[in-house]
């Protein structure tokens, strides 16, 4: 967990999604740090998180990840937080903001999807077989993973300078944790949680995103009362990587309207 940027600025907490760690927010953080107080963290099981905190059964539930987000805000005694959840973490954001609206006063969902699997008339874009295929791809690519790799990941230097705080081992995650995280997040269904979001919400989606297609962004927007939706003219699921300036400024405008 790291807190960087303007100490007296509005608090922006950035939650990463599946497949990576807080490094994904590097570009956005560098742009926002002069104006905002940025809170970054790795979900338990990802990046440089403490391996001892991992529990395969507990972390098979979205609510556990969401509770961790609330815990961080409590531990740092943060209020008036804008919580930004990317991809699968957007629904963790929905759960966290609903549980603690006294701390999270604004919510930003970056390329969100409340349900990846098709269901009746709802088109999430995927089938459960596709998720099995993802797990298979994880297995194929973690063949070379060994215990020695884990220590590289854990050995995150705790240096405050912005330019040197990112770990060298970008997005390396223990395969056992990645499997649980993938299953939990991609098979979850949080559609029923959307109407209950009690705080102002901004949905940022990408014009061309095969993971969270346009109709899903529209669905989230329709389901969250009073939400605002901004579609960025970009491609891919990670606009904070492909278009960091645009993503950062869209976040900034919502946190502190100019």
């Amino acid at each position: 967990m790291k807190v960087v940027g303007a100490a007296d600025g509005p608090v922006v907490m950035l939650a990463h999604g599946f497949g990576c760690d807080q490094t994904l927010w590097r570009g956005v953080t560098e742009i926002l740090a002069s104006r905002f107080r940025i809170v970054l963290f790795d979900h338990v099981g990802a990046g440089a998180s403490d391996p001892a905190a991992w529990d395969a059964e507990r972390y098979a539930h979205m609510s556990t990840y969401a509770a961790d987000i609330v815990d961080i805000a409590q531990e740092l005694d943060l209020t008036d937080v804008t919580l930004v959840g990317h991809s699968v973490a957007s629904m963790m954001g929905v759960l966290a903001a609903t549980a603690a609206p006294d701390r999270f006063t604004k919510l930003i969902l970056l390329t969100p999807s409340p349900r990846y699997i098709d269901d009746g008339d709802y088109r999430g874009g995927f089938s459960s077989e596709d998720i099995d295929e993802l797990l298979e791809s994880l297995d194929s690519n973690y063949l070379g993973w060994s215990a020695s790799m884990a220590s590289v990941v854990v050995n995150a230097p705790d240096r405050p300078e912005l330019e040197s705080m990112w770990t060298a081992s970008v997005c390396r995650t223990d395969p056992a944790c990645a499997r649980v995280f993938a299953r939990t997040t991609f098979l979850s269904d949080n559609r029923a949680d959307l109407p209950g979001v009690p705080v102002p919400t901004l949905i940022i989606d990408s014009a061309r995103d095969s993971l969270a297609p346009s109709q899903v962004g529209r669905f989230v927007h329709e389901q969250i009362p009073g939400s605002v939706r901004i579609t960025l003219d970009v491609s891919g699921h990670c606009p904070q990587i492909t278009a960091p300036e645009l993503t950062a400024e869209t976040i900034a405008d919502f946190v502190r309207p100019s």
Binding site: A52, N141, G236
Partner: protein, 386 residues
């Protein structure tokens, strides 16, 4: 230019698939080797999304993991993905990529090579399957060596927890609790040297020997001597196999249970008293079971009254690495027991489970814990004054 340095030919007919994509992942160009592998005309693919060449699961993996890594690190090395051909077959490849950037450091083009990985991936899938089978086998075997449920006598509760240090090897710790007669119960907790299949065989033999011996003998020391003879007889020619264990018999008294135990080289149990104190059962000095002629086993008897709990554990707990030392180097376990006393078996085992988890990688060996407790007197909780 001489023929063998024809760059166009080197590109088009390279022994690997070669393509370049724009930062938005649209295909800018690909060589004829790759087009042939995929069964498409080159022109049919130019301008399409690279992700569409992948399986759906592979595309999710690429979008969430490899793509961001590629753009952040500027390269990718040897990742395994499946391409999908025109006739919907899967073509396993290894992908390597790097990013071409402009003067401002922005990506302008991504160069990707694909190596045919059909044979390698078949082999790797077999390896993964073998490992999965080995893990399943270890898990099943492990489960067969531990009781599916503990069956305490009425008036008593019991709880146990097992934490394996390794996912694909059977551990060497074991425990059980079982009825001998209406008022008499047997229990044990022990640790076989080593792990894996050889240790599992010893564990299995140890378990049924102890259960059978308990039926014929009421003296715990005699039960351990019986086990000692069996282990020495069984492994006399091969490598000696030995274990440590505490074996005990619970006998009902008017107000609780008398616990008659014997230890063979095993760390002494703890008693958590109803009054909030805790102490070790004095039974050190017993010798390893199965390798020594005339091994000596140490008896001890304690009584458990309402609210008292007996706690047994293996050295995986006490010898977990913490910092530069081991967990119990300075008496941490007795402190832990004292801090949690009084405690029901379920409560103390739950706390031990959290303690074991907190060791993380420091838990070098398997750890087993079992707690047996006399239920608190029903009126003691309600008889508080005022």
């Amino acid at each position: 230019m001489i023929d063998d340095l024809d760059v166009e030919d080197l590109y088009e007919n390279a022994p690997c698939g070669y393509l370049s994509v724009r930062p938005d992942m649209r295909i800018a160009r690909l060589n004829s080797t790759l087009a042939t592998w995929l069964g498409f005309e080159v022109d049919a693919l130019v301008g399409t999304d690279f992700g569409e060449l992948l399986t759906v699961g592979g595309r999710i993996h690429f979008e969430t993991h490899f793509g961001p890594m590629l753009l952040m690190n500027g390269k990718l090395d040897g990742i395994a993905l499946d391409l999908v051909t025109a006739d919907r077959r899967r073509l396993p490849v290894f992908i390597t990529a790097n990013v071409k950037i402009d003067a401002a450091g922005r990506p302008v083009l991504i160069r990707i090579t694909a190596l045919d990985a059909r044979d390698r991936r078949t082999y790797e899938r077999e390896l993964v399957q073998s490992r999965t089978r080995a893990e399943l086998l270890a898990k099943t075997l492990q489960r067969s060596l531990l009781p599916p449920a503990l069956l305490p006598p009425s008036g008593m509760t019991a709880a146990a927890h097992y934490r394996a240090a390794s996912r694909d090897e059977v551990g060497g710790d074991f425990y059980d609790l079982f009825p001998l007669s209406d008022d008499c119960w047997g229990f044990f907790l022990g640790d076989v040297c080593g792990k894996g299949a050889a240790a599992a065989a010893v564990t299995s033999l140890t378990r049924y020997t102890l259960r059978a011996a308990a039926v014929y003998d009421e003296n715990p020391v005699a039960v351990l001597q019986n086990l000692d003879s069996v282990l020495r007889q069984e492994f006399r020619d091969a490598n000696a196999q030995f274990c440590t264990a505490v074996f005990g018999i619970l006998s009902r008294t008017d107000t609780g249970f008398e616990v008659s135990m014997a230890s063979g080289g095993h760390p002494p149990p703890l008693v958590l008293r109803a009054d909030g104190t805790a102490h070790y059962v004095p039974m050190t000095g017993g010798q390893l079971i199965g390798i020594l002629r005339h091994a000596r086993f140490v008896p001890a008897t304690v009584t458990l009254e309402a609210g008292d709990t007996l706690m047994l554990y293996s050295d995986g707990l006490t010898e977990a690495r913490v910092g530069r030392g081991r967990y119990d180097d300075d008496g941490a376990l007795l402190e832990f027991a004292t801090a949690h006393a009084p405690a029901t078996p379920a409560a103390i085992v739950d706390d031990l489970r959290l303690l074991l988890r907190s060791f993380g990688d420091g838990l070098a060996d398997d750890a087993a814990v079992m707690a047996l407790g006399v239920s608190p007197a029903p009126d003691s909780a309600e008889s508080s004054e005022g």
